[in-house]
């Protein structure tokens, strides 16, 4: 990426920096955001490398049962304790983390792609098409999406018996229904950008509309899109956990944070660790994502930064 030319005499002395590098430097100065980024990396490692390490050390996986050692509290062998069937809770939390992170990435990617294309086309083309496309968004906004997700999940459960297929479908479903806000943000950005000189320049050299939209306009909206996408991951993870909690998401013997929290809350008064560990890991993940999202907003979009 070419550096932005510096026009002021004061800045001329400093080496030119790209806006992305500026943002990165701002982000790095935000200690809370850095700490949360590190925490997130830790949670990713915990979820991905963790099961491998546990298997190598103690030899069990998320579904190896040991009924004789069921419902034991935290110990040296089972750091998070075991569940009623004697499965190691830490591995199950790790496995749930893998699902939550996979979902966070896949659903957010789907959301972002649909939202950027929808909002971008609506904003760039304008007129009746814009009107019609935004009406669709309005209609979807007026729907109780969670209720619809529950209904679709339940009807899919009857159609698809394979748990893998259902898992993938849930990812896609959540992704396909969460793109509305991104579409609105991108449309607003495109509207404010499309009459600027660089767009006219591109048009003057004969670039086709699709090229102007996706090569010139969309890259300029990436800041807000990244900020919003990060901010929407916690909501997406919560939807999964929520569905699994209600028994409409990830199915046992597989584990997810929602499944574990649901199991744990049933035996809360007797075996509190079964709720506390998965709940804690999930809350920490969401906390880290929230702070990181705030940090990204401040770094990428300094104008909207709240003073103080």
């Amino acid at each position: 990426m070419s550096a932005t030319p510096m026009l002021t005499g004061v800045a001329a002395a400093a080496p030119p920096r790209s806006p992305w590098r500026e943002a990165w430097l701002r982000l790095r100065r935000n200690r809370v955001a850095v700490a949360c980024g590190l925490l997130l990396i830790g949670i990713v490692l915990f979820s991905i490398a963790g099961p491998v390490l546990v298997k190598a050390t103690w030899g069990y996986t998320f579904d190896s049962m040991n009924v004789a050692y069921g419902a034991h509290g935290p110990s040296l062998r089972h750091w998070f304790g075991t569940d009623a069937l004697g499965r190691d809770l830490m591995v199950r939390v790790m496995y749930g983390g893998k699902i939550a992170l996979g979902l966070g990435i896949i659903a957010t990617a789907i959301t972002t792609v649909i939202g950027v294309i929808w909002g971008g086309v609506a904003g760039y083309v304008g007129g009746h098409i814009d009107n019609a496309m935004m009406r669709v968004v309005d209609v979807l906004y007026a729907l109780p999406l969670l209720v619809i997700i529950i209904a679709i999940q339940a009807s899919l459960a009857a159609k698809f018996k394979s748990p893998d297929a259902r898992l993938v479908l849930m990812f896609i479903l959540i992704g396909c229904l969460s793109w509305l806000t991104i579409a609105r943000i991108v449309r607003g950005q495109i509207l404010s950008l499309k009459n600027r000189e660089f767009v006219e320049a591109a048009r003057a050299v004969g670039a086709p509309g699709s090229r102007i939209l996706f090569r010139h306009l969309v890259p300029n909206t990436l800041g807000p899109v990244i900020v919003y996408a990060t901010a929407s991951i916690p909501g997406i993870m919560l939807t999964e956990a929520f569905l699994s909690f209600l028994g409409l998401g990830v199915q046992p013997p597989r584990s997810s944070w929602g499944v574990l929290i649901s199991d744990g809350s049933k035996q809360l008064l007797v075996y509190p660790w079964m709720l506390i560990f998965p709940g804690l890991v999930m809350a920490l993940t969401i906390l880290a994502l929230n702070f990181l999202g705030d940090g990204l907003r401040d770094a990428l979009d300094p104008q909207t930064r709240k003073v103080g």
Binding site: D138, V139, A142, L143, P144, L146, V147, I148, I150, A151, I152, Q153, A154, S155, A158, K159, P234, L238, A241, F242, F245, L246, G247, L248, G258, I261, S262, G264, S265, L268, L269, P272, L275, G279, M282, A283, L284, I286, L287, N290, F291, K306, V307, G308
Partner: protein, 306 residues
């Protein structure tokens, strides 16, 4: 105002039709009917049941039958429970609405006062402490918070785990579990927008007139600072009502959410469709109320509309 209401009602009709059709399609087109339990009824019984609910009619006929019922505000009969859906909603909705309302009031009261107090003492320990607690609360999902509240209440305060519905007190824990996350969001929003407002000229004027700091904050800054909160209340009310599912499940309350989840699991087609339509109407009504309230708080919006 009148135009707003009429416009919204006209908008609601196609939306509700879409929701109804979606629900109908989803539930009718799935294999595995409502009577596929582990214990299947004998064939004759099933035949009679199917006949009674008109399940063997052509789907267009079923569609019209149900739709014309909806036009008369008759949502039909649950396939699983021997009850009319209207009656179920009449019984279950007050439970959900009570929890939602307490949660909402709690969220607004706590959220606004914490946010405004934090803003008026910007960067004090109170501000930092309140905002830290707020972000912790935002990160704790209601289905973790609910059971934890039960744990605390039963272990430290000696209350019984608040299952079952007996008396007003059993609404408090669920409402708290549901409302806390919104209280925290409102507190953050209110703080940020009051801070924005505090720097404006008319606040300086109010101070220059010699008004007390309390009056400046609570009479001038809060009114403007409430606007983002009101905007947020629309989606928040909606998700408080849909978020009620979890809380109702945890505390085993016979609210609408519990019925929806059971109906979805049992593929109780008529019930799921009816509840989808009901929730959609509720959501649109809430959004309309919020828009009216918004015009009432901000005269600029009201004038732009008329």
């Amino acid at each position: 105002m009148k135009r707003l209401v009429i416009g919204r009602i006209l908008f609601a009709i196609p939306v509700l039709l879409v929701v109804f059709s979606l629900g109908f399609l989803l539930m009718k087109k799935t294999p595995g009917g409502p009577f596929d339990a582990e214990k299947r009824p004998p064939p004759e019984v099933e035949k009679n049941l199917r006949k009674r609910y008109h399940l063997d009619d052509h789907w267009t006929k079923q569609y019209w039958r149900e739709l014309s019922g909806y036009l008369r505000f008759d949502l039909g009969k649950s396939l699983k429970r021997e009850q009319s859906i209207n009656e179920i909603i009449r019984k279950a909705f007050p439970v959900s609405a009570t929890i939602g309302l307490i949660a909402l009031l709690f969220a607004v009261a706590v959220g606004v006062s914490l946010g405004v107090l934090a803003a008026s003492r910007q960067n004090s320990w109170f501000d930092h402490g309140a905002m830290f607690i707020a972000i912790m609360a935002i990160s704790t999902p209601s289905f973790v918070l609910g059971p934890l509240l039960v744990l605390v209440a039963s272990m430290w305060l000696g209350w019984l785990p608040a299952a079952r519905l007996d008396g007003a007190s059993s609404y408090i824990l669920p409402a708290l579990a549901l409302g806390l996350i919104y209280a925290a969001s409102i507190a953050r929003l209110a703080r940020a927008s009051v801070l924005d407002v505090i720097r404006q000229d008319y606040i300086r004027t109010a101070r220059a007139k010699g008004l007390s700091e309390g009056k400046v904050i609570w009479k001038h800054a809060v009114r403007a600072g409430l606007q983002p909160v009101v905007t947020y209340l629309g989606p928040a009310t909606a998700s408080i009502m849909t978020g009620g599912f979890v809380v109702e499940t945890i505390f085993q309350l016979p609210g609408l959410g519990t019925y929806l989840v059971t109906a979805a699991k049992d593929s109780d087609a008529t019930m799921v469709t009816a509840l989808m339509v009901f929730y959609a109407s509720l959501l649109m009504m809430m959004n309309l109320l919020v828009d009216i309230a918004y015009g009432w708080i901000d005269p600029r919006v009201r004038d732009a509309r008329s």
